[in-house]
């Protein structure tokens, strides 16, 4: 495949994705998020990232209750092609979104990533999470001060033996 002029559509797609997601990956805070952090005067959630249990991590990060919502759209594979890099994304139709966080219930540390969403930003995050084994992935969207979630089981398998 060759292109002669302009950016290739594929590359443009990726860049668009990158613009809304900022940096991909665990441990990298998006540029946008940094300013949001400063604006909100929030601290880096050091404690929450150190907790093993999901409920404890949610409590440490948010300190309030979560309700499941069909307005949180979590896209994750049923069976991971590679447990080391599982593509997980979230979009939501909720208004006034201020943060989106990802939890992997049975990872050594349940909180995988947390993104601050600056005012006026499309609430859409795509990232890849490392998963130790088959477990639930939960996305929590903080909107107008309340927490909404979606959960999906992602299977991490030894593979092989297909029909």
């Amino acid at each position: 495949m060759t292109t002669t002029t302009g950016p290739h559509p594929t590359r443009r797609l990726i860049l668009q994705g990158a613009a809304s997601v900022a940096l991909l990956g665990l441990g990298n805070l998006p540029f946008g998020a940094i300013s949001a952090l400063a604006a909100a005067n929030d601290k880096y959630p050091d404690e929450a990232f150190k907790l093993k249990n999901e409920a404890d991590a949610i409590k440490a990060l948010y300190g309030k209750t979560v309700e499941p919502s069909d307005k949180v759209k979590l896209d994750a594979p049923e069976i991971a092609e590679n447990g080391g890099v599982v593509p997980i994304s979230v979009t939501t139709t909720l208004d006034k979104v201020t943060s989106i966080s990802f939890f992997v219930a049975e990872n050594p540390f349940a909180l995988a990533a947390s993104y601050k969403i600056p005012d006026g930003t499309l609430p859409s995050i795509a990232n890849r999470l490392k998963m130790a084994k088959t477990t639930n992935v939960t996305a929590i969207v903080e909107a107008d001060g309340k927490l909404y979630s979606a959960t999906k089981e992602v299977k991490v398998t030894v593979g092989g033996c297909g029909g």
Binding site: M1, T10, D75, I79, P87, G159, G160, C161, G162, G163
Partner: protein, 581 residues
């Protein structure tokens, strides 16, 4: 369905009587079961999972095909008598032999082999001529290019030629991907039909590097669907490849592609076909497996019929599934060339007003082989047949593979691996392809290749702890019995030689497998290390190909003395009609 029943009764009687007739007379005079009543204005013919079986085969359907939870006792999880009763098939009929394991050995002598592409060609041509070539289409659901030694050495090129002569206009894939991207693309250059897959996308890395795709904007690697005018109406056929290719097979074959069921993308595509392209019917040509298709049909709207494969379920009637937009019919068309699905549609503006479906067994004794196809098969086989025709053993028992847990063919393979590679335990994949050999029928290398011919056949010997062995069994068992079909991969249980265990299919992962015991009666200890032989690993291995190791064992003649068998006890499934009584 009344017409259909009468046809089958006729078939049984004629097939039985025909055994005393010379071959050609049988072929020309007794094919009346294939005279189908005309219905509707379009005909779609469907084959799937032929596994490159160019010539007619024996293939015993399973005696264990358990459904758990919602799937318990529902098609396709019915075997033997329960299957016959559900579909109203007479136990002594040819259909009982084609569709079930019921009295298989007795009936094999009576009704002979099924399938074969020269026989299939005769049947396809006839059924297309009946309605007119332009109002019919032939589609293949994948697993066409793999399953024999010939397909393996030719990397599927033999099957592309056969597909072109047969007139396949669209296909999707599964094992096709295990030849790797370059071979797949080379073969598709020669293939005259369309290769359709709505659910194969470039990985983000591959997209960034401008890897080749049908649609660079979405990253879709292949064309998702094609539209054909049939009976004056527009019919869309959407392809759904096997969703778990990089998980079930070594990832090295498809490094740039990511798969999955992709329900949402499918829904969008179907909506666009309906809304923008204004098609009158949408057919999904699927390699999901039947349980996955049944769930998908309940969630995705706008599909009229799913022509399914992968799980090798020969289901005589479509299963209607309700969803928010109406009803979708789900079919599955068996394997190994045994069956031809015939879907007759009454098409109206924007809708399918009525449907007739038949899954016709391809009785090779009742069909005259098409000369051009017979010539092609002879020509592609010729360079290799002599090498593989040596008789290497004559088994004293029926050897079949298909079944949820085990079968004598895999017991033989496991015994061969343990003996030749000097291991306590052997593991062999739960493939659903691989044909059946009758007791007393000499086995050749060609037969052995039909059980083992894959692109990653290397054997291995490694040490595993008891806990690791249990973990493998649990993991594969969950692929089979997870109550949510979307988490199933559609193969059967990994075969285990040298050990016995108890399985409780309805339990959760981690607690299905218990009482692991070595053949010497000793319990398997979680921390002890065992020497395990196997083949077809998703990780790269270096050992000799499985066919060489098993061939060496068979040539030694030891099989005839040794008792094969694996002790697997099942718990909590008493009375499940997925187990033959």
């Amino acid at each position: 369905m009344a017409i259909r029943r009468r046809d089958f009764l006729k078939a049984a009687g004629l097939a039985a009587a025909s055994l005393s007739l010379p071959r050609l007379a049988r072929g020309t005079d007794t094919a009346s079961i294939y005279e189908l009543e005309r219905f509707g204005n379009a005909r779609i013919l469907h084959i799937t999972d032929a596994h490159a079986q160019l010539n007619p085969v024996y293939f015993r359907e399973p005696s264990v095909n358990i459904g758990i939870g919602e799937m318990a006792g529902r098609p396709p999880h019915l075997v033997g008598r329960a299957f016959l009763e559900r579909f109203g098939i007479r136990p002594d009929s040819a259909d009982a032999y084609a569709f079930t394991c019921f009295e298989f050995e007795k009936s094999a002598g009576r009704f002979g082999k099924l399938g074969g592409f020269a026989h299939l060609k005769t049947l396809v041509d006839r059924l297309r001529a009946d309605v007119g070539e332009k109002d019919s289409v032939l589609v293949d659901g994948g697993d066409l290019w793999q399953g024999t030694g010939l397909a393996n050495v030719m990397q599927g090129r033999d099957m592309v030629e056969v597909a072109n002569l047969l007139g396949i206009e669209a296909m999707t894939g599964h094992w096709e991907f295990t030849y790797g991207e370059q071979v797949l693309r080379d073969n598709l250059e020669r293939f005259k039909g369309e290769f359709l897959a709505q659910n194969v996308f470039l990985t983000e890395e591959a997209a960034f590097n401008d890897a080749r795709a049908f649609d660079p904007a979405t990253g879709r690697v292949f064309k998702p669907s094609f539209i054909k005018e049939l009976g004056g109406h527009r019919v869309a056929i959407v392809g759904q490849a096997f969703p778990y290719v990089p998980i079930a097979h070594p990832k090295r074959f498809t490094p740039d592609w990511t798969f999955g069921i992709r329900e949402e993308e499918l829904q969008k595509h179907v909506d666009a076909l309906r809304g923008t392209d204004k098609v009158d019917a949408v057919i999904l040509l699927s390699h999901n497996g039947m349980d996955v298709d049944l769930k998908l049909a309940s969630r995705v709207t706008g599909i009229d019929v799913i022509l399914g494969g992968h799980t090798h379920d020969a289901v005589p009637q479509p299963i209607p599934v309700k969803n928010a937009g109406g009803t979708t019919l789900v079919t599955n068309a068996g394997s190994n060339g045994k069956f031809l699905g015939v879907l007759d549609l009454a098409l109206d503006k924007g809708k399918v007003s009525d449907v007739r479906y038949r899954l016709l067994p391809v009785y090779s004794e009742l069909l005259k082989p098409d000369p051009a196809m017979a010539e092609l098969i002879g020509r592609v086989r010729a360079p290799h047949v002599a090498d593989w025709s040596e008789k290497i053993a004559t088994p004293d028992r029926l050897l079949y593979r298909r079944g949820n847990f085990t079968g004598p063919m895999d017991e033989l393979i496991c015994t061969a691996l343990r003996t030749e590679l000097d291991a306590e335990i052997a593991l062999s994949p739960g493939f659903r392809w691989g044909v059946t050999a009758l007791s007393g029928q000499a086995l050749t290398m060609e037969d052995l290749l039909a059980e083992t011919a894959i692109t990653y056949p290397e054997t291995y010997v490694q040490e595993m702890t008891g806990a690791e062995i249990k973990n493998v069994l649990e993991d594969v068992c969950d692929n089979l019995f997870n109550p949510d079909p979307y988490y199933q991969q559609g193969g059967d249980m990994v075969r285990a030689g040298g050990l016995s265990y108890t399985c409780t299919p309805a339990d959760a992962i981690g607690s299905r497998i218990s009482e692991l015991t070595l053949n010497n009666g000793k319990a398997i200890s979680a921390s002890h290390r065992y020497k395990v032989a196997g083949w077809a690993s998703v990780n790269g291995q270096q050992g000799a190909p499985a066919w060489d190791v098993v061939g060496r064992y068979l040539r030694s003649g030891r099989m005839l003395q040794e008792r094969l068998g694996t002790g697997i006890a099942l718990k909590g499934v008493d009375g499940n009609p997925g187990i033959a009584g």
